[in-house]
């Protein structure tokens, strides 16, 4: 049987429900520009049998788990290519020869200086010029090599700091998981916590490639490097770094529950950390190796001819270059101290006037000595510069495509979850009129009660 008091309760439930709904709408409007905020929706349903009213059953968070996962994976790519593009451009600077500076022009000057010595072997000027050109060549080799190693060292530092950043995020994620389980226990809304959690995981995905799953209570569990857990509900594992004795670089390790560290460097392939590791461990070492190959071959070939020649005093030539690679190639100190030690002559009798050995050394510029006897020194270096140019070009293209993809994924996620003020205003109008109707109902009931009392 319907009682007037019962109807008042129905009207009250409507007032509560719609003011609650307006509260949801106002939260949405307030957070229209909040990063990571997912719009919320008031779910209204009628309560029980006819006459029992309405209730705001839940406040639903609108989001699509699939799109969010896709965004994370796009973000991993973006992190990786952002780093690679940036560092490769820096490397490219080292190999950008200008008209009069760079390895290529230093090599040209070097060969030309030998010919000038051949033109006038007894000229001390020509010999000093050769000694100084050779010094410049060695310097360019040294600085190119040390510039590359500097970049490698700074990447190494970045690896350590990225690992710390990851640990920090992982701890925050576990905290958020904790808050979600506590809130669930007290039936408090977890929507805000889940927004924060998603933002944290998205940040993490730009640092390292992760795989994630969400459990039934909404907590996110994370694994890295082929299934090593980082976060399991509220339990945390940490990453660490450890100096590799072979390379002198920091290896990334995963520390298990017993505190044992396992090296996972090779299993990290994406995110900023993946980009850092690839450049540090593959790209730079390969350029350094090619540079060394070039330096060593120049040393070997020039030294072998030079020691077969004779200096101005008729003594057999000393080694022209000393060193073991691009980083320590140097002109023999004896030659720098006394340019008469340059062995321009092919015979001891020729000594001061014969330039045939200098010509033989100058001819090295055209001999095919590298890549198994198919490439000249200059062509080898040119190929290296082109190779670096291509690498940078492809990194740029990958970066652009990764940032387009990430942008697209972001807008897909936003399409589902972002707040539309138009929608919210429309709902506000709707809830407002429903609230007004319920208020009207209350005032009618009030009149009805008055009628009863006055009877």
């Amino acid at each position: 049987m319907t009682t007037t008091t019962g109807i008042i309760y129905t009207a009250l439930s409507a007032l509560n429900t719609y003011s609650g709904s307006i509260n949801v709408t106002s939260t949405n409007i307030a957070n229209v520009e909040t990063t990571g905020y997912c719009r919320q929706q008031a779910v209204i349903r009628s309560v029980g049998i006819v006459g029992s009213g309405v209730e705001l059953s839940t406040v639903r968070r609108i989001y699509n788990a699939f799109l969010t996962t896709q965004l994370r994976s796009a973000n991993e790519d973006l992190g990786k290519w952002e780093v690679e593009n940036e560092i490769l451009s820096e490397i490219e600077e080292i190999f950008t020869d200008t008209d009069d500076y760079g390895l290529s022009s230093a090599l040209n000057d070097f060969w030309n200086a030998w010919q000038d010595v051949a033109n006038d072997p007894s000229s001390t000027t020509a010999r000093s010029v050769l000694a100084s050109c050779s010094g410049s060549l060695a310097d360019v080799f040294n600085s190119t090599s040390s510039d590359l190693k500097d970049i490698q060292a700074s990447i190494n530092d970045a690896v350590s700091s990225t690992v710390e950043e990851i640990n920090l995020l992982v701890n925050q994620i576990a905290d958020m998981n904790q808050k979600i389980s506590q809130a669930a226990a007290t039936e408090e809304s977890v929507n805000t916590y889940q927004d924060s959690l998603d933002t944290l995981v998205l940040d993490l995905s730009s640092l390292i490639d992760i795989s994630t799953y969400t459990n039934e209570s909404g907590q996110i569990c994370i694994q890295v490097a082929d299934g090593k857990p980082l976060v399991e509900e509220t339990t945390v594992w940490s990453l660490s770094t450890e100096k590799n004795t072979m390379t002198g670089m920091q290896d990334v390790t995963w520390v298990d529950s017993e505190g044992n560290a396992q090296v996972i460097t090779g299993n990290i392939t994406n995110g900023k950390l993946g980009g850092y590791l690839e450049i540090r461990d593959d790209v730079i070492p390969s350029y350094l190796a090619e540079l060394d190959e070039l330096a060593v071959k120049i040393m070997d070939e020039v030294n072998s001819l030079h020691t077969g020649g004779y200096d101005m005093d008729g003594q057999p030539g000393v080694s022209f270059f000393t060193g073991t690679g691009a980083d320590d190639i140097a002109v023999n100190a004896e030659i720098l101290a006394d340019s008469e030690k340059i062995a321009a002559a092919a015979t001891a009798d020729g000594a001061s006037g014969d330039g045939t050995n200098a010509i033989a050394i100058a001819e090295l510029q055209n001999s095919l000595v590298l890549d198994g006897g198919t490439t000249t020194f200059s062509d080898y270096y040119t190929a290296l510069v082109s190779e670096i140019g291509l690498k940078v070009q492809s990194a740029q293209a990958s970066y652009e495509s990764a940032s387009d993809t990430a942008e697209f994924r972001k807008s897909q996620v936003a399409s589902v979850s972002s707040v539309s003020t138009d929608e919210e205003i429309a709902k506000l109008a709707l809830y407002q009129s429903a609230y007004e109707a319920a208020a009207k109902l209350t005032s009618v009931l009030d009149e009805m009660l008055e009628t009863i009392i006055e009877m």
Binding site: E92, T96, D354, Q393, S418, S420, I425
Partner: protein, 371 residues
């Protein structure tokens, strides 16, 4: 697809920043005037540019080598021209002496001695930091010197040439002030190169200090007549080598022995013959030998002239190659300026459009405007 205002604003910000990057790239190309500022701008062309610059540098060096060789030939031509003139002069003297038209031999001897000194000084001409006709040895001693060095107390052998065998040879060693420090008397001597051992001691048996000493040689034969003596060649037979192209070496003939030894020999013989009072027949024979050495110098000059014209051709080839390569480098590097300008204009327009679109989005009507 559900689209919200914030999505549209974010998208337009993203496109504006992308468009700004493209605009900046186009501006870099226009302002530097270079299509290729970094290897990644065009890796293959960047490699090509490096190769081209290397070739350019090589061509420049070959041109410099060739110019230096041509300068040498020019200097040598002048020297040999003077040598020919002096030898013609000597031939005239010998002609008039052998025809018996003159009896005053004294003046002629002096004149021949002067000519001999001139030829010797031409043969010892300096060039650059060395000597012009020393072969590829080019040492610090003149190729036809009458000098002997003492170093660390040890003296070199004394070297000289004689036209005929001698029975007695006198060598006087003088120091830098011209004082005779040692007189060596040697019995016997052969036609050709003679090498006399000197102990480096002076006439009193004391060691001489290290340094260069001059020597003069006089020789007489069994008949008591003077034997012609002239300086021995100290240089090498190998010519001066110049790298004039890739794997291509030009040899300049600066073998002093081939050029001057005959002339020096015949002049010293003429002087000795006049001093010995030889008859006109003997002088006429010497005159004929002199003609042979004049001919040989002429033939060396002809060869030299042909080397010079080869070098000229090479030089002009490298000049052409350099011009072509420079224009290719310019084209690769700068590309078309019109194209760059049009690209810049296009990017500017696109940027303006992106901004205009953003403005539209920001000014888009909202539902709240109508409620």
């Amino acid at each position: 697809m559900r689209t919200t205002r914030s999505m549209m604003v974010n998208n337009s910000i993203y496109f504006i920043s992308k468009q700004a990057e493209k605009l900046a790239d186009a501006q870099t190309i226009t302002s530097t005037g270079k299509q290729i500022n970094k290897p990644s701008d065009d890796p293959l062309s960047a490699g090509q540019l490096l190769s081209d610059r290397t070739s350019l540098s090589q061509y420049g060096q070959y041109q410099s080598n060739i110019s230096q060789a041509m300068t040498w030939i020019e200097a040598s031509e002048t020297t040999l021209d003077s040598a020919s003139t002096f030898l013609q002069e000597a031939k005239k003297i010998l002609s008039s002496l052998s025809s018996g038209t003159t009896s005053t031999t004294e003046d002629y001897t002096e004149e021949l001695k002067t000519i001999n000194d001139q030829i010797l000084s031409l043969a010892n001409a300096r060039y650059g930091s060395g000597y012009m006709y020393g072969g590829d040895i080019n040492t610090q001693t003149a190729p036809f010197s009458n000098e002997v060095a003492v170093s660390s107390g040890v003296a070199e052998n004394i070297l000289f040439e004689m036209a005929n065998d001698a029975s007695s040879v006198t060598i006087e060693v003088t120091d830098t002030s011209g004082n005779i420090v040692r007189t060596l008397n040697v019995s016997g001597g052969i036609a050709g190169t003679n090498s006399i051992v000197w102990d480096g001691l002076d006439n009193n048996g004391n060691s001489l200090s290290d340094g260069q000493y001059d020597f003069t040689v006089s020789a007489i034969n069994a008949g008591g007549k003077a034997v012609a003596v002239f300086p021995s060649y100290r240089g090498s037979e190998e010519g001066k080598t110049v790298m004039t192209a890739e794997d291509n070496i030009t040899v300049l003939n600066n073998n002093g022995e081939a050029i001057f030894s005959d002339a020096l020999s015949v002049l010293s013989q003429a002087i000795a013959a006049i001093e010995n009072g030889e008859d006109t027949n003997a002088l006429s024979d010497i005159k004929d030998v002199l003609q042979t050495s004049i001919d040989s110098i002429t033939s060396i000059r002809t060869t030299q002239a042909s080397v010079n014209s080869q070098l000229e051709r090479k030089l002009s080839r490298f000049e052409t190659l350099t011009v072509n390569l420079n224009s290719r480098i310019y084209e690769t590097e700068t590309g078309s300026t019109t194209e760059a300008a049009i690209k810049l204009q296009t990017q500017e327009t696109a940027y303006e459009e992106a901004i205009a679109a953003a403005k539209e989005i920001l000014n888009m009507p909202k539902l709240s405007d109508y409620l």
